[in-house]
């Protein structure tokens, strides 16, 4: 019975010109999304490679120069250019190390925040600085958003499902074939369930055949592709059930189309905008315009308490002589500054925390609201899977900051010991500059819970109302 239905559905759809057109449209969108993903990944790989090469060349040149100086073959007058000086090499403006960040493996699936993510993190005396090509991207393009596979799945796939399901029963009724079908010596329920399942199997097959090759071509690994396919089918199933539920209302096809599109509009287009508006209202994030001023005010305050803090420094280091400002050598000055770095950081921690907390509250609230729409749940899931969401970005940032601290401590210790950098030191430096793998976010907040709830909600009218509705149809 089911196989017969399956065969019928397949033939029915394969002879439907509109279905082919829709398939072509969805396929085209998937290919374009995958192409964009490939382009982005290639561009980022190229940018990352260029950064690595530049860094390798820089440190190779510094090492060679340091070697000549150590062997007495070359002299360096200016300390700020000296490649044997730990401060110059590790922390000052024209020195410093750069941690290159590898692209997220799934960014071709869902761009998320990856188009704003830096490709590198420079470790300098004053702290880390992001280095990103997005600094030079056209903001108009960033604002319009990416045409990625996630966009195709979240926005366009439901339309494909709706277009091929909205008149599943109404068309049969309008053509008079439903009564004929139910008059067969087979239980009406069986026909109904088989027909539904068969149509869904055909749609799923089409979606999978389009999505999987596109995802593989985009460079997303097999594991990620499998997970994304599962989520895609689940999402498609939600829309399929939704269209069936609308069919059960027993209205005409035009009504069904309007109702399905209305649901799509509400859940896919309006709800995300509404959620963002609500999050902005309930948890407003202050403009960072005040941030730098607050930091500067804190700096001014710090300068006032600095002499007292330096008392502790000189008490702890009796071998160092405390000199008046105009008598200090650059080394005296830098030793003080290196000591003050952590204390300075702690002094401004509240300011940073205030902005970060507000931003996190906003993001947490927005994420809680994702349960209002399966489109948001899926988007959240896909960006999490791709490692391009905010959580992944923050987790990577944490790794970068920790590595930057290790870097700083290493050079500060060398400088404090008045060491000269040699070949072995350069090997250690290189080992600290290994590219950083982007962090995945720790699971998706919603997991499978919400998709299951949505599917149950959608299936309820079908389960509860089936017998009554079927009778009414006849």
């Amino acid at each position: 019975m089911f196989l017969l239905q399956l065969q019928y559905e397949w033939k029915h759809l394969s002879r439907n010109g509109a279905a082919w057109l829709l398939l072509l449209f969805l396929g085209g969108a998937m290919v374009f999304g995958a192409y964009n993903g490939r382009q982005r990944a290639a561009r980022q790989k190229q940018a990352v490679q260029a950064l690595k090469t530049a860094q390798d060349e820089k440190f190779a040149a510094l090492e060679a120069e340091a070697d000549s100086i150590v062997k007495g073959l070359k002299k360096m007058e200016q300390w700020w250019l000296d490649p044997t000086n730990p401060l110059t090499v590790g922390l000052l403006r024209k020195g410093g190390g750069t941690l290159v960040i590898e692209p997220a493996p799934g960014q071709a699936l869902a761009v998320g925040m990856s188009d704003l993510q830096p490709e590198a993190y420079a470790m300098l005396f004053g702290g880390g600085a992001a280095r990103g090509s997005s600094d030079y991207d056209n903001p108009a393009r960033l604002a319009l958003g990416a045409f990625d596979l996630a966009f195709v799945i979240v926005y366009l796939l439901p339309l494909f499902v709706i277009a091929l399901t909205y008149n599943l029963l109404s068309a049969e009724r309008e053509q008079g074939t439903l009564a004929l079908l139910l008059s067969q010596p087979v239980q009406g329920r069986r026909i109904f369930v088989s027909k539904m399942l068969a149509r869904f199997v055909v749609l799923s097959l089409m979606a999978t055949l389009l999505f999987v090759p596109s995802a593989i071509w985009a460079g997303i690994g097999a594991g990620l592709t499998a997970q994304a396919t599962g989520a895609t089918l689940l999402y498609g199933f939600f829309w399929f059930l939704m269209a069936l539920a609308v069919n059960m209302l027993q209205q005409n096809s035009a009504f069904n189309a309007l109702a399905c599109i209305g649901a799509w509009l509400l859940l896919v287009v309006v709800m995300p905008a509404l959620v963002n508006m609500l999050a902005e209202k309930v948890h407003p994030v202050p403009s960072r315009a005040g941030y730098e001023n607050a930091m500067r005010t804190a700096d001014v305050e710090f300068e006032k308490i600095k002499p007292a803090i330096l008392d502790t420094f000189y008490d702890a280091n009796p071998a160092l002589e405390r000199k008046p400002d105009d008598a200090k050598s650059p080394r005296d000055w830098w030793l003080e500054e290196l000591y003050l770095l952590d204390i300075r950081k702690a002094h401004v921690a509240d300011i940073k925390a205030m902005y970060e907390d507000k931003s996190q509250s906003h993001a947490d609230f927005a994420r809680k609201l994702t349960v209002l729409s399966p489109a948001l749940v899926l988007h959240d899931y896909l960006t999490g899977l791709a490692g391009t969401n905010r959580d992944a970005q923050l987790a990577t940032q944490e790794v970068l900051e920790s590595k930057a601290q290790t870097w700083l401590d290493w050079f500060a210790a060398k400088y404090a010991a008045d060491a000269k950098l040699q070949a072995a030191d350069y090997a250690a430096i290189r080992s600290m500059l290994k590219p950083v793998q982007p962090k995945q976010s720790e699971g998706n907040s919603n997991g499978l819970l919400w998709p299951v709830i949505y599917l149950t909600l959608m299936a309820l009218p079908l389960i509860l109302g089936r017998r009554r509705q079927m009778m009414a149809v006849i």
Binding site: Y136, L258, A289
Partner: protein, 471 residues
């Protein structure tokens, strides 16, 4: 006259439909919500930015006594202005940095994009008045108008109408007038309600002019969708086919085209990577005077030329402070190089923008989006106008400091200092944004193309209606 009768009939039948009542109610609620959500966007952000600007200036005025060149490194901050109409259309506002650090030697990039403080969900759009008018309102027109001709055909009314001697042009004008009146019955109150946002303090006559043009742009845009709806409805044999086709067109024009064209433009005219941009910049910077490195090749050359010109053998015999002089020469070179690379980047943006405008045929949404952002002051041009003004100010401020160093300090006197009174007397950053005339000039092409879209779709409508099939 017949067109008026048709229009009146169309208007009455739409107003009577529950579909209209439901769609109008939903759209009105969403528009009201969008105004509520965006209402304090300008007021709140403008207040924060104005406060930040005052604080930054106070920091500059009250800085510790220091050498003018140290002050140039201490630098100051300027902040992206927030315009009254940004509440209506936020455009690229969240995607551009709002804080710009100005110091000697370097043209920094603006920092702190609002989007960076939000989650990836924020990339899915915000409910603003521009979103409702640009994305959702066309759907309202489609839902009300998809059966405008197709249903008349299905019910057999079309044959009767044409048999009664109604000319196809009259039918087209009547239907578009009717549908237009329905759209206006909602769009005009929306635009009036949206105008309330301009009641916030700070909005001036120019903002009303901009808003007037924005409103006109949106009305023309909605007119394009009225024409499209009628054309498709006239083509389709059945109303539900017309509906599905129109929805397809809407999705292609409002959702797919903007992203697809922007991506296509980016691949056709790629912007440089961070490394490529910096490498090119640093290479150019090396080929010129470095104020902080007197031993550099170009600095040595400049020194020789200057000594020769003044007939002295050492820099301390010059009639001015060589340190200030070389700092300023270095600054001029650095400014030239930074500007050169910035201009090249802007040229790429312009090429991308041209492609976006050239693809106007694909979607009037691209045009209304572009002109709306330009008029709201939330577009790339306005942002770069601010950056250019800030750069001009940076050059002037650093020039003032270098000039002071050159004329009022002795060579090698890096310990010499200026006090608060001097810093308070330094140039102030005063920026008001591009004038209406300039904004109108750059908005004109997109507006003209939008109007062209309206006319062409109208002509196409007339053409299609001339060949309308009654059955």
């Amino acid at each position: 006259m017949k067109a008026i009768i048709i229009a009146r009939q169309e208007l009455r039948s739409i107003f009577r439909e529950r579909r209209f009542q439901a769609a109008a109610a939903i759209l009105s609620i969403l528009f009201a919500l969008s105004v509520f959500g965006a209402w304090d966007y300008y007021a709140s952000n403008e207040k924060q930015h104005a406060e930040a600007a005052r604080t930054a200036r106070a920091h500059w005025d009250n800085q510790e006594d220091k050498n003018p060149h140290s002050a140039a490194h201490y630098g100051t901050f300027v902040f992206k202005p927030i315009y009254p109409l940004s509440f209506f259309d936020r455009g690229i506002d969240a995607f551009t940095g709002n804080t710009l650090f100005l110091e000697g030697h370097v043209m920094h990039e603006a920092k702190h994009r609002a989007v960076a403080d939000r989650s990836e969900l924020s990339r899915l759009g915000a409910l603003t008045p521009a979103f409702v008018l640009g994305i959702l309102f066309p759907l309202f027109i489609i839902v009300l108008g998809f059966g405008s001709i197709a249903s008349e055909r299905e019910s057999g009314n079309l044959r009767i109408l044409l048999a009664q001697g109604l000319r196809p042009a009259g039918l087209f004008f009547g239907k578009s007038l009717g549908l237009g009146a329905v759209a206006l019955s909602l769009a005009l109150p929306f635009l009036l309600l949206g105008g309330l946002g301009l009641a916030a303090p700070g909005a001036g006559a120019e903002d009303w002019q901009r808003y007037g043009l924005m409103s006109a742009g949106y009305l023309i845009y909605l007119g394009c969708f009225i024409h499209l709806t009628l054309i498709v409805s006239a083509f389709a044999q059945r109303a539900n086919v017309a509906l599905v086709a129109l929805l397809g067109i809407w999705i292609a024009m409002c959702l797919i085209a903007p992203k697809a064209v922007a991506d296509f433009a980016a691949w056709s005219h790629p912007t440089p990577s961070w490394q490529a941009y910096q490498e090119a910049l640093q290479n150019d910077l090396k080929n010129g005077v470095d104020g902080h490195d007197p031993s550099a090749e170009y600095s040595k050359k400049l020194e020789e030329e200057t000594l020769k010109k003044h007939g002295v053998s050492t820099v301390d015999s010059l009639p001015f402070n060589w340190d200030g002089f070389i700092m300023q020469k270095g600054e001029e070179h650095e400014t030239y190089v930074f500007q050169k690379h910035k201009d090249a980047l802007l040229a790429i943006y312009q090429q991308q923008q041209n492609l976006l405008e050239a693809s106007a045929l694909l979607s009037p949404y691209l045009l209304v989006n572009l002109s709306s952002q330009r008029l709201a002051g939330t577009d790339v041009h306005t942002f770069h106008n601010f950056l250019a003004a800030a750069e001009k100010y940076r050059v002037a401020l650093v020039g003032e400091l270098n000039n002071d160093l050159m004329l009022n300090f002795k060579y090698g006197d890096w310990d010499g200092k200026r006090d608060k009174a001097f810093f308070a007397s330094n140039k102030k950053f005063e920026y008001r944004g591009p004038a209406f005339r300039e904004v109108w000039q750059i908005s004109r092409p997109a507006m003209a193309l939008l109007f062209g879209w309206y006319l062409l779709s109208g002509l196409l409508g007339l053409f299609v209606f001339q060949r309308i099939k009654p059955i």
